[in-house]
């Protein structure tokens, strides 16, 4: 581990000012510090933002939305009564990530910006376009069993690892950011980007931009759930996950539908085609299968991860069927 400076800011502005080129914000450190130990990240300075006054969850009166501070710990988010009642898929997604100890440390901002768990990315003895543009991507011909099936490029086939981000993408969250250029709001999906020719950039954030809060609109009517598939029953990243909300009217017609997938792409993948295929249609397994197929028509699996297409399809159908049989 290289030597680095540690700085603690009193407010967001000061944090931004301290975050000079080569510096990184420090949330709970559960990902960043690991990457520093591995030599993947070598920041000259850590700007600790975990104690900034972004540690509150504010819920609008019933029927409204919520605002979650970027420094809120994952455990606190998952346990918050309003989040659990209003956004059960979010509470479940957060609870399915890491372990109790990791969630006690991890912050909302850090969770959104955690890096891929592609094995080559985490091993500096291997080439990797995400670490060093132009090095090549060994995963394409190597171990990509748990990497992307949608939206990947010739430069990178990594997936975004966060569970929470999948729920936020389904819920149309808005990410509040301050940076050297002032404040702005980035919609989800839209915060994370596909790798294209620039796999080094995970998100649309500019250097030095700091996430301050996540704003959630009022949840649409319907039932929602998060399901995560993994070979180990806990403490494992998703092979594929789905965040789904389904609102069906008394005639059995789908009126509200939000679906996002984890473990399939470089971004939490909002399944807009599946949603489009379902809205206005009669709910039921056949419609769900057709919706899943519409989305997965986009899939371009790699030689060793074709199983994920089957898995994603089955998972979408099973999850929607659970919400509205």
């Amino acid at each position: 581990m290289r030597e680095f400076e540690y700085a603690r800011a009193r407010d967001g502005r000061e944090a931004v000012a301290l975050c000079e080129p080569g510096a990184r914000y420090l949330g709970g450190g559960t990902n960043l510090v690991d990457l520093m130990r591995l030599g993947v990240e070598t920041p000259a300075r850590l700007v600790d933002v975990s104690r900034l006054p972004y540690d509150r969850i504010e819920a609008a009166p019933s029927g409204g939305g919520a605002r979650i501070g970027a420094a809120v710990r994952n455990s606190d988010l998952a346990a918050h009564p309003v989040i659990r009642r209003r956004y059960p898929m979010l509470a479940r997604a957060v609870l399915s990530g890491g372990s109790g100890q990791v969630r006690n440390m991890a912050t909302v901002g850090g969770n959104l910006l955690q890096r891929t768990r592609c094995p080559y990315f985490q091993d500096v003895s291997k080439p990797c376009n995400k670490r060093h543009p132009g090095d090549g991507c060994p995963a394409i011909e190597g171990d990509h069993r748990n990497l992307a099936i949608i939206g990947h490029s010739d430069a990178c086939v990594a997936t975004h690892p966060s569970d929470m981000a999948v729920a936020l993408a389904a819920l149309d969250a808005r990410v509040h950011v301050i940076g050297p250029g002032g404040e702005r709001v980035v919609p989800m999906p839209g915060l994370h980007r596909l790798p294209g020719a620039e796999p080094g950039r995970d998100t649309v954030l500019e250097p030095g931009e700091l996430i301050t809060a996540i704003e959630l609109p009022a949840p649409p009517p319907g039932r929602s759930v998060y399901r995560k598939v993994r070979e180990r029953a806990s403490f494992a990243f998703a092979l594929v996950s789905v965040a789904a909300l389904l609102g069906v009217d008394s005639a059995g017609v789908v009126r509200h539908c939000k679906i996002a997938l984890g473990g399939v792409a470089h971004v939490p993948w909002r399944a807009a085609r599946a949603e489009g295929a379902l809205l206005g249609r009669t709910a039921g397994p056949d419609a769900y299968a057709a919706a899943a197929d519409a989305e997965l028509a986009l899939a371009r699996p790699l030689p060793r991860n074709a199983y994920k297409v089957t898995l994603a399809r089955n998972l979408i159908v099973a999850t929607l069927t659970e919400l509205a049989p």
Binding site: G39, P138, R232, T310, N314
Partner: protein
């Protein structure tokens, strides 16, 4: 002898209060820190080592490498011939060590300032059943013939009413003890060496370290009082111990070396991957007419390590024709090593999966098929068993598990999204014993028993206290047992499930001698007693039953129930025995469903080299794991009447689960681990 009862661990309080000292934690005055540097290529040679910049880093004390090979003595294990040659035999081999005032400086200098250049050569790290360099090893570990053959296998197969001919594979697996390998080496002014080490046997480590460094045995002391697991990976000294010793000599200071979790994947051994072909033939009634079991496995170019994968097949079932063979290929990989139940564990996955397939083919219940093929004597050798209660284990397990209610049809039980199935498989492990010595002395109104045994978390210290108390006819609280130090009377390894049998014999004999000598002092050396051997085949047996649920949509496999019934001689301490059994079964569950060390052939090292990527079973995977045993009186073992229990728990678990997955889904997975990817494709 009666069962002594579930005495609590004597060092339990020390451990849970954090006061038990592990190897790296000894406060050695003036200690510096060594960071091992590893080769980034899988085959080739070092062309340049330039340590100038590294030595200029403030705080760096020394760099040792093959640029100036440290003198060594006689090195039997080429993995320990550190820094002797510029040749690189595998990715991750240790090529240098940087010694500095702090671990951080050492690592930083190693990673940024030490310049080593390599001439890489094409490497070959992939085990294949058709590898052109496969050969049949003469011997497999520790000293079994590589090949055995009895009767006419081909005729037996040709005449069979039912046959199975399938190939099963197991991946490379890593031991992953909780405590990483670590050592402190401190040279004394008189040229002797003290090593604080995390080992499974202080005596054997002392002997090896002394030989490698060209010292007399009495010049080396190995201290290893507490060990946070080993599972075989601490059974022989690993390179970092020698690295610490040569680094300490170069720096003129004691040196501490702790491997990172990532380094452990390259430097502390692993279980070889296996490709096993099993052919079984049975007559109309299900009686075996032939068994043919071949294992293809790997070793390094440095040395032959031939895992004894098909040896359990020499023990298990009666058949007029029985052939067991091994084939090995030497690849540009680290040398495989010992991992819990080496041989039996992967071998029984194949054999017991094949038996399940035979049961299916013949339309016979899998428990009954095994009972039907119970041998009267050890099938390969013809020797009588000292005791064998496999059938009793199967019957008792079937009764407890509710096996009689089982519908044999695969893929027909569904509860909601879950497909439900059950499976059975057998366990076996040899009852070994090795020479050890011990002393017992009356001191301070009680007794002190000394033996260089190792407690790697098994509870050996506690069990030996109980055994000594019983032999001395006193209460355990009047006995103190000293272990984990090579200055104590020499003792065998904590390996091969033979610790209690070997050390316990010496302790009993020493206590008997004390009583005979007027109650003051007794010593014993069991070399003769053990060398006398036995006319009997001595093995522990067991039967494991698994219930699995497989998500019909996602292929997720969960194991709500695992039951093991074991016949392992007399169980000396039920509390500790249970944790050995269920610990083994839990590790077997991990092997069945998730454990796999993955190599990208282009690079040659293990890619998923940490605990976030190499998954072992988590608490949530372990639901109802139960182990019970049947009373077994066996007078032909040792004074305690005990068989080893440390390894048998992992033998057969993976097959029981795989067989249950078949019963649940109708899908036979012959390649471990059984992941959603495998079940869905």
């Amino acid at each position: 002898m009666s069962t002594i009862g579930g005495m609590r661990r004597v060092e339990g309080r020390e451990k849970v209060t954090g006061r038990a000292t592990y190897a790296f934690e000894y406060a050695v005055e003036g200690a510096a820190y060594g960071h091992p540097v590893q080769a980034p290529i899988a085959r080739g040679r070092i062309t340049t080592i330039d340590a100038e910049a590294a030595l200029a880093v403030p705080g760096v004390l020394a760099v040792v490498s093959s640029a100036d090979p440290p003198p060594l003595g006689s090195v039997e294990d080429p993995e320990l011939a550190v820094f002797q040659s510029p040749q690189v035999a595998y990715h991750g081999q240790v090529v240098a060590v940087v010694v500095a005032e702090t671990a951080e400086i050492a690592r930083e200098a190693a990673e940024t300032a030490l310049r080593i250049e390599y001439q890489a050569e094409p490497h070959d790290v992939v085990l294949r059943p058709d590898h052109p360099r496969l050969y049949a090893p003469e011997r497999v570990n520790p000293a079994f013939p590589g090949r055995t053959e009895k009767g006419d296998v081909e005729a037996g197969l040709a005449d069979a009413a039912y046959t199975v001919d399938q190939t099963y594979t197991t991946p490379a697996l890593h031991n992953n003890p909780m405590e990483p390998h670590a050592a402190i080496a401190a040279w004394e002014p008189d040229g002797s060496l003290t090593v604080y080490d995390s080992t499974q046997g202080a005596t054997a480590h002392r002997d090896t370290i002394a030989a490698v460094l060209g010292l007399r045995q009495d010049q080396v002391r190995v201290i290893s009082r507490h060990v946070g697991g080993g599972f075989g990976s601490k059974g022989t000294p690993r390179p970092h111990v020698i690295v610490a010793a040569v680094a300490a000599r170069a720096a003129g200071r004691p040196v501490k070396v702790a491997l990172t979790r990532q380094q452990m994947y390259d430097m502390t051994g692993y279980r070889t991957p296996t490709i096993q072909r099993v052919r079984l033939g049975a007559d109309e009634d299900g009686r075996l007419t032939a068994i043919d079991h071949d294992a293809v496995e790997q070793s390094s170019t440095l040395k032959e390590f031939a895992e004894q994968t098909t040896t359990p097949t020499r023990v298990m079932y009666a058949a007029p024709a029985l052939r067991t063979t091994h084939h090995l290929v030497r690849l540009d990989v680290p040398t495989p090593s010992w991992m819990r139940a080496p041989g039996e564990c992967p071998g029984m996955f194949a054999l017991e999966s094949a038996m399940d397939e035979l049961a299916e083919a013949a339309g016979i219940d899998p428990v009954e098929l095994r009972v039907l093929n119970e041998p009267a004597a050890e099938p390969e050798s013809g020797r009588p068993f000292s005791s064998r209660n496999l059938v009793a284990c199967l019957r008792e397990g079937a009764r407890r598990f509710g096996w009689d209610r089982r519908d044999p049809r695969p893929g027909v039980r569904r509860e909601g999204r879950w497909l439900v199935g059950t499976g059975v498989a057998c366990s076996t492990y040899p009852a070994y014993r090795r020479p050890s010595s011990a002393t017992a002395v009356a001191e301070d109104g009680g007794y002190v028993v000394r033996v260089a045994a190792a407690d790697i978390g098994t509870g050996a210290r506690t069990v030996l206290t109980q055994i000594a108390a019983e032999a001395l006819n006193t209460s355990p609280d009047r006995v103190r047992v000293e272990i984990g130090d090579s200055d104590l009377p020499r003792a065998s390894l904590a390996g091969g499930s033979m610790g209690t049998a070997s050390w316990g014999t010496a302790v009993v004999r020493a206590c008997e001698a004390l009583l005979k000598n007027g109650g003051q002092e007794g010593r014993a050396d069991t070399s003769e007693e053990v060398a006398a051997g036995s006319a009997f085949a001595r093995h522990a047996f067991g039967a494991q039953f698994a219930e699995v649920r497989v998500d019909a949509d996602t292929g997720e496999v969960r194991v709500p129930r695992l039951l093991g019934v074991f016949a392992a001689g007399r169980i000396v301490n039920p509390v500790l025995a249970r944790s050995q059994f269920i610990g083994g079964m839990t590790m077997g569950l991990g092997m069945a469903l998730m454990e796999e060390s993955f190599v990208d052939p282009r690079f040659g090292d293990f890619l998923n080299h940490d605990l976030a990527q190499y998954h072992v079973a988590a608490c949530a995977d372990v639901q109802d794991v139960e182990a019970v045993w049947i009373d077994e009186e066996d007078p032909y073992l040792n004074p305690m009447g005990s068989k080893g229990i440390g390894e048998i728990g992992i033998v057969g678990t993976a097959a029981a689960i795989a067989n249950a997955v078949y019963h649940a889904t109708g899908r036979r997975v012959r390649d471990l681990p059984i992941t959603p990817a495998r079940l869905l494709s």
